[in-house]
Symmetry: D2
Subunit: 389 residues, 4 copies
């Protein structure tokens, strides 16, 4: 491995831009992040690709990921869901570290294969659930770990968007079961389940989700294909709801929709415990509503103090950050883990994981999210609660 | 029937005070309301009862409702849930009009008996779901009826309180299945289901709830009995969640808890349709958040204009009303229906309902709420969705 | 004096209704309040007056206050501002207790005469600045007295309404200098100045206002007289702003307007001290935003707990009250002071004030508010700061 | 001039970082921005400077701005206020374009010299009032220009911070009159006055500020010098308030403080017109509260749609941006103007300004802000209103 990490990226649209920006900003704001070389960007449309490489600062382009995975230190898989498994596994097998967008895979089977490949591989395998890296969320996690909320009784998560409320909104790959796996459930619900697991799942104040009951609904069955007279069927859910139970008996309630008129990107998490409560909304991501101790109501905490997670690397108190900063933070953590793993040598050589060379959410974490999503979907099919072990 | 309606009331605590206040305020603010005579108040503790009669302005007291139901024009049943059926039915059979607190009964069976008694009776039989009479809720109902929200896709209702989060909070009849029927479900969820049915159930933009999946949870199994060393078991739910489907495919998500730290009386209703959305919270009951038409976000409407429902009877714009005003409104509507029914003669004589002598929520409405609560409870027991026809 | 206080009221419109309602509600919710007899209501329009007497529960009517002031125990002056001085002084001189609506008078001279009359009289003389009696305001006062906000640095008060933003909104007495004294300044600003004095003026954390700079503005110079083709001039301010300095150097900033589109009755008070801050808005009068101690942001306190001021007399936590409740509270306090004063005999007999027979805001308090309003007006005329001693 | 603009920057701390970041991000998000060369960064501490050059991507460093101003295309003056005039004027005279941080100068005299230098120069002279470039502010500007608010009646601006509320907070150059000019007034109030002028000043719905009355206050007279036992005097204001009148009679009310406990960076602008109102707060910079047309209350607009100003260059709807993005936008506009001016040749050659080569806020704009600040300060000294022509 060279001193600078050589990075190859599959995908150059929304997520490609978000990660490219994150990589570009690390040196100025996180000077202890490993050096990276934006080496190659992979896609099918050569012209668009060349343009993206130019804007995003990549040295070269490729139209087949197979030509890339063996030639980079780190492989970013930012393609659509059905392209997650094969290239990621190939990259891991080729010895690369892999950072894959969420959800891990369209199906639980593919997710399992990816998890297994990660277990066998030397590289770090991370899944890009970026909302773990919101300062307010990390601050919330700290409060929960410190027992400020006590024993958890209620966990509520909902992710509301409105981009499909117009029945003539155009068809896209995200509405196709084969390409996407599921709809609102996998696209939005995956974020919710990951955040919930992050915040309370690995704690003794709630524990894992033990069983779920799910409901998926599609409001509009077909949509126009842009540039044609055709309509294509929508084969995924437009919205889902779920009930859940946690190890300690806490009650969960989850929901996502692409039909929530008036909500652009409203990912809200609410938790009530025996000692306190908190509320977070992604549309106001610099804020956390917290009620702890003897307080009589929620306190609006602007999580922009120098001592807040990641904030000291940015601006003075009250100078708010945006959505994209979560990508900088997650890239910082992921690449730091990669550098540590590389420095310590492979796990197979040392017989155990390198100190510090761990990144979460890992493929393992993402697989467990997928288990919950899969259980919600199966519950919807059978009309019965589904247990998770 | 005399010119002034003679009223007997069972129950003199919280609800007794709320209705007594409502009756006392009608003449000043709703001068066209029927005249009433606060005749008799019924309870077991003679001393407390005498004191209540004095404060609430009742002429006499009684310790047995059997002595009262045949002797009044209108019987208010404000007792605990297990005392709803027998006195209400007796009063209806004795020819009285009956106004019963919610939920209608602890069990579906008793609710059915009450409904049947109401069907057979000449009197008006109303159930006191007071939140229908919040001006903002009536305004919301108008928006939905006018098609301002379009076809409904999502209905969300939650009712959060915190009075049991302390595990040593004292035992009370509301925690006993025999006395209360259920816990958060019947006490709080009944309000939610009634409001949801009121807002979208009798419309063609959503229709009735067709099936539900429920989950009930009790966090603390026993509680101290005040004034003793004893603990009594909690045999009802501390919290419930439910998923629902409506006739038109709309998705419902309901929840209530007595363990939601930081929430005193937070009954929130959120609805998303194809043309707009709205949000209401009882803790800010003068406000409605509305998004309709070309608006880009929610507009905070202070529902205190003279033209708003009931508001013209109170104060100028911006002079907010409180929780208790909902009781004045519902008593106004109920007593007006009673007077109209009385004026028109009995239904059995005329062969059909008197014009205008109808009040909603009726026992029929309340029975249908109870059907949903019962289905949620059965779903919790079986782990399967339960259909409602 | 009979056992029950005999009350005469001048004015039967908005304020007449608000106080009549308050008197009617005392027995049920404040059982220790003195008994009152709604004896006589005074006005010019006999028909409207008879109707008001009937609705508000008064025994008789009168068209001349001179016939009333000598014949009642308590005289409520709820007439327009230019009718405050003469009847109130006459009532005080006749030995009655007097409760006068705010502002005390249209001019400082009349206010001074009223204050002097109150000093010489045996009766209690109160001014009805009702917002002192909002539970959240009393709670705020307690926090400030307990030092929770520390030394005060900033006091901000604004009172925004929108009822004149339409240039064709009809002319009314409130727009005439002779009848009203001033416009937004006296009608709305008087409330602000009174609240500010109540909260920080009599404390050692800020002290009195020592000097002011004011600005009055009239946006629309004449308005149509309803029922005619005429326009009458607007001779008062539509809006005012003021800067102020307090004894301890704290900085004040005040404002009111009848042209604030989108604000119905938004009276907002904000205070920043060395240890904390608070914010209150009348449109959400059950809430107080508080930041104290180590808190990082404002906590939304729902001031509806049983232990909160006056709340224990009403409903359980979370069951919000409305604007009219402030009148019940102020009438309770005023009448209690009247009863105590009556019980203790007159001040002139005893040589000093009866223990407990004091009510604030008194005419003295209201005069001091008027001094500030007058200074703001004079500052507007001269373009210079005006000192208050 | 080379094809790529050669940039020299004075100042490498807070503002240095903010502008360096902005320059670095332009190519990826604003591909039509002129190419720039981060050439040289100027400061006194060579070690810190070298480190900054490395992190911010500058090719070289210099310790004397005199060595730089003649050698760059564009000179960024990001030094403390007392270093604004001389280097900026020298750079303009040397033919460079100049971008200077706000406020333009510590005194009106220096500001005037800078404005005059800009008038005489060929280069573009911009002042970095970045809040003009918040998408929500630009959106607000559009609403006002389109007449959506009608004739303006009220303009309110306040900028609240809390970093000096601790009397032992350390002394810094911002507290010294010679170095900073003024305190909260120049640091925070300058932003407010610029925004107000931007939003309503150049319109016919309000016009310029015609007169002001000001009040400055210093709460803590001396502060500890870090690393010493000394205290240095605070010779500027900790807070200011001002009243203002606009050409059309609209009423202004302004305030800023460094003592507003609980407010980190709360720059709030509120405007009421004859047709509507709006509210903006910097701590929620993606949102605008708007009331227009027949709306009954404020609508919360999340200004993150693709069609919103600058937003299309960033992320999809609902993916919020942060404070730093305002610097990207202003650098984009400034550098675009520079490139246009350069392309068109100098003004002196062509005889008039190049089409499009204009940038606002210019030195002229910033001078006019300074006039208002100066008038507020003089009014505080004399206790009288001060007119602006």
């Amino acid at each position: 491995m060279t001193e600078s990490l050589k990075i190859g990226v599959l995908g150059y649209r929304f997520m490609g831009k978000a990660h490219a920006n994150a990589l570009a900003r690390l040196p100025m704001f996180f000077p202890d992040a490993p050096d990276v070389e934006r080496s190659v960007i992979v896609g099918r449309d050569e012209e668009a690709l060349a343009d993206a490489a130019d804007r995003f600062g990549f040295e070269s382009t490729a139209t087949d990921w197979r030509d890339v995975v063996g030639d980079v230190d780190v492989f970013y898989n930012l393609g659509p869901n059905h392209l997650h498994a094969e290239p990621s596994i190939a990259a891991l097998e080729a010895g690369a570290h892999v950072f894959c967008e969420k959800p891990l895979a369209p199906t639980l089977e593919e997710a399992e294969e990816m998890r297994d490949a990660a277990r066998d591989a030397d590289g770090v395998a991370g899944c890009a659930f970026n909302y773990r890296f919101v300062p307010a969320i990390q601050y919330a996690k700290g409060l929960i770990e410190d027992g400020e909320l006590g024993e958890i009784h209620h966990v509520r998560g909902r992710y509301l968007q409105d981009w499909l409320v117009d029945p003539e909104a155009p068809w896209a790959w995200r509405m196709d079961k084969d390409l996407a796996g599921s709809g609102a459930l996998g696209d939005l619900g995956a974020h919710t389940i990951d955040l919930v697991r992050f915040l309370v799942g690995d704690s003794d104040v709630a524990g894992d989700i033990t069983r779920v009951s799910g409901h998926l609904q599609t409001f509009v069955d077909e949509r126009p294909v842009p540039g044609t007279d055709e309509y294509k069927p929508v084969t995924v859910d437009d919205a889902y709801t779920a009930q859940a139970e946690f190890e300690n008996g806490a009650v969960g309630s989850f929901e996502a929709s692409r039909f929530a008129d008036g909500h652009k990107n409203d990912h809200t998490i609410e938790i009530h415990g025996s000692e306190g409560s908190l509320t977070f909304s992604l549309e106001r991501l610099n804020e956390l509503e917290v009620k702890t101790g003897d307080a009589r109501g929620y306190e609006t905490v602007l999580v922009t103090d120098e001592s807040d997670p990641y904030v000291g690397n940015w601006w003075p108190p009250g100078h708010v950050i945006g959505w994209e900063h979560t990508f900088v933070h997650e890239n910082y953590e992921f690449l730091t883990a990669v550098a540590e793993r590389a420095a310590a040598g492979s796990r197979t050589q040392s017989g155990e994981a390198a100190e510090g060379g761990e990144f979460h959410p890992s493929f393992e974490d993402a697989y467990e999210v997928q288990e919950v999503l899969d259980a919600i979907e199966r519950s919807d099919e059978t009309g019965e609660w589904v247990s998770l072990e």
